[in-house]
Amino acid sequence: MKIVSLKINSKDIKAEEGTTILEAAKLVGIEIPTLCHYEGLEPYGACRVCSVEIEKKGRSSIVAACCYPVEEGLRVITRSLRIDKLRKTIIELAAVMAGEDATGKIRSLASEYDADLSRFRSRVPMEPIKCILCGLCVRRCIEANWDSAIGFAGRGVNRRVVLFPEKAGICSTCNYCYVVCPTGRISSAYGPDPPFPFIDDVLAGRK
C-alpha cells in the first residue's frame, strides 16, 4: 500500500493511500466531530459536521473529512473561525428536526460549538421528530442483518426512516439501531428495550 504524507493542523502525518482525512486525523489524536459516521460503516457524507478546510495546489476549499481520501502534500485545517462557524450553523440546522431538547451527541456538540439549538427551530412551524436522518440506524441494520428492516422513504423534507412491513422479520432485535442514534431518538423513547415491533412509530419521520 502506498504511503502519502500530509499535514493536519500543524502535524506532519504519513497515512496509507485510501485512508480518509477523518481516519488519518484520529491516528494522531485529532478529533473531528461527526454525526453520521460510524467506524466500520461506509462513509455517508450526509451530516457535514466533519467539514474541514483543505489546501491543495494553493487553493483552499471545504470538504467532508469522513469521505475525502488523503493525498500527497495535502494540508488540512480541522478548526478555524470559518470551520467553527460552519459547524455551529450545521448543528443549528440539524436541530430543526432534532429539536432544541435533543440529547446525545448533538447536545454535546452544540455546547462545544456554541450553537443555539432554538435559533432556526423557532422559524419552522413543523414539529421536531428527534431524527436528523443520518441513516446510521439503517446502515447499521444492514451491517448486522445483511439486509435492512428499516430504510428511507420520501424525498427532501418528506424523507423519513420507516419500517418495511414485508421485511419486518429481518429485525433480530439486536438493538444496534438505538446504540448508534446520535440524537437520542431511539434510546430516549424505549431505553434498552428492543425497538421492534414499535420501530415504525419510533423512527417515523416527518408526516
Binding site: 462513509p43 457524507g45 450526509a46 451530516c47 457535514r48 459536521v49 467539514s51 471545504i62 470538504v63 467532508a64 469521505c67 475525502y68 481520501p69 462557524k85 460552519l86 450553523t89 450545521i90 440546522l93 440539524a94 430543526v96 428536526m97 435559533r119 432556526f120 422559524r123 419552522v124 412551524p125 436528523i132 436522518l133 428511507f152 420520501g154 424525498r155 427532501g156 423534507v157 418528506n158 424523507r159
Partner: protein, 641 residues
Amino acid sequence: MEDIKHISSPEDLEKLRQEITAKREPSKPIISVCVSTGCIALGASRAMEAFKAELKKEGLEDKVEIKETGCLGFCEQGPRVIIYPEEICYFKVKPEDVPEIVSKTILGKQVVERLLYMDPTTGKRAKKIEEVPFYKYQLRLLLENNARIDPKNIEDYIVLGGYRALAKSLFEMTPEQVVEEVMKANLRGRGGGGFPAGLKWETTRNAPGEPKYIIINCDEGDPGCFQDRSLMEGNPHSILEGFIIGAYAIGVHEGYVYVREEYPIAVENISTAIRHAEEYGLLGENIMGSGFSFRIKVHRGAGAFVSGESSALMTAIEGKVGEPRPKYVHTAVKGIWDKPSCLNNVKTWANIPLIILKGAKWFRSIGTEGSSGTNIFSLVGKVNNTGLVEVPMGITLRDLIYKIGGGIRGGKRFKAVQTGGPSGGFIPKEYLSLPVDFDELTKVGSMMGSGGMVVMDEDTCMVDVAKFFIDFLLEESCGKCIPCREGLMVLSNVLNDICEGRGKDEDIQTIEDIAETMKEASLCALGRTAANPVFTSLNYFRDEWEQHIREKRCPAKVCKALINYYIDPKKCQACLLCLRECPVEAVHGGKDQVHWIDQKKCDKCGTCYEICNFDAVKKLSGEPIPPPPPEGTKPIRKRGK
C-alpha cells in the same frame, strides 16, 4: 428504407451517401412540419393530417414529400412549417390553412403572406427563417439541421454528411488524437459545470478498471429548459455520432443514454436512432468494419431534478434511488459500479462530430477565449420572443434580450435575468453588457447551468422570486445532507415570513449564514448552488429586502400580504364589472355610484385590477389607504362614455 445497406467501410458510407443523393430530386417540394413536443401541443399533428389529406385529394402524393421534423426553437409561434426548396417559413399553421398552402405555395409557387412571421415593431413580413429577427442573430450549429431531418430516417442524416466524422475518427485518427482534438477545441461541458470535456475523457481513458462506461445525460430537469429534448427529438443521430466517437476515443464498449421518462418523443427517437445505426453497421459489433465495438442502452429516468447531477444519475443507473454521493474521487474514475464512467450532456456530445470534421481551430474561432463554440439558451420570461436560441459564447445579455428576444414585453423596463436554471443567480441591468460565457456568469454570482434564461421586468419582486426558486429547490432536494435539506426548509420559512410582513431585522443575517453554509458544506452541486438566487437577490437588490422587512412594503407590488387594492374614485366609471366579478363580494357601490373596496373582506385576488377597463383599480403598498367615498358619490364621467 427498403433494403438496408450494411456499411462495412468508409467507402461504403460514401457510396450510400451518393446513392441517396442521386435518388432525391432537389426540385421536389418538401413540406417540413415540426412534430416536436411544443408544436404537437399547439396542434401540429392535425396540420400534418390535413397536409396528407390535401395532397391525396390533389393527387400530389408522389410529387410532394411531407417530412416530420424537429424543433427550431421558436415554439410560441408553432406549429412551424417550412416549404423546400424555396425555404418559405410559415408559423401558426392551422389545418384550415393547409389547402391554401398547397394550392398557392406548392402549386402556384406563391407566398401566403398572412402565415409569414411579422415583425411586431416594423410590421415587415419574413419569408425565410433567416429573415426573422429571432433567428437573424443566432449561430445555429447544433439546431440547424432540425428542420431538414426526419429524426426517424437515418438516411436524412447520412445525406447531410452524417457519420463522416465517425469514419474519420475510426480510420484516420488514433483514439489519442481524437481526445487531443477535443482537448484543443476547449469544449467545456454543456451540462452547466463547464468542465473541459477532453480532460474528462482523458481521465476516464487513463483510469484503472474495466469495464468503463460512458453516459449521455438527458435528464434536463430545469423548468422551462428544453434544449436537450429538442436535440434528442430533432437530430438524435448527431448525438449518437458524437457518443460513438467518444466511446472510441476513451476506449469504452458500453454506453448509457439517460433520458427522462417525461420525454416520450425523445425516448422514442433515440431508441429508433440506435436501432437504425445498428442495422446500418454504424453501431454494435465491428463498427464500419473498423474492429471497434460499442453497445448502447437507454435508461429512462424516473423524474427527479437531482438525478441530473452526475453521481446521482449513476446511482440511478445502478438501480438505486437517485441520490448524490461524495465525489472526491471523480466519477470519471469511480462512477457506475465504481468503474470509470464518463458522463457528458447531450449538447456536449452533439458538438463532437463538428469538432472532428471542422477541427479544433475552427471551433475555437467561435465564442470566447475561455468558452469556445455556441450554446443553446432557453430564453423565457418577460421578453417578446421566447424560445430556444443558439448563439456563440460571449454574446452580451443585451443582444440576447433585445435583439433576439425583441425586448421586454409590453414596453416595460428590464429588471433582472436569471441564468442557469432554478439555482442560478439574478443578474441586474448594470451587467447587461456582460458577455455570456462560463467564467463571466460565475463572476457575477450566477452560472451557465443548463442554459436557462428567465427575463424579469419591473413588475417582478426580487424577494418573491427568490422565494419561488427556493421553494422549487426545497421540493427537489433529495434530503440526504443537512445543509441543503434543512437550509432550504428554514430559508423557505424565513422568506415566507418576509413576504407576509413578518420579517425581522436579523433575518438578513440568518439568510446569509444559512446560504453561506449551504454553499460551502452541501454534499452536491444542487445544495451548493441552491442559495444563488438568494445571494444575488440580496447583493443586487438589498434595498428591496429592507423595504419588505423594515417598511413592510413591496415596491413591485407583488407580495399579497403587503399590498392593498384601492379604487380611485376619480377614475371609476361605476360600470359594475368589478363589483360583479369580485369572488368575495368586497366591492361596494352600485349603479351610478362610485365603487370602493372593503379592505376587511378583500382577499387580494387581483380580479378587479385585471378586469377594470378604466385603470381605476390601484395597488398600494406601504402607504395609507384613502377612506371610501361618501355613499352615493357619482362617477366623474369621461367624455364620450
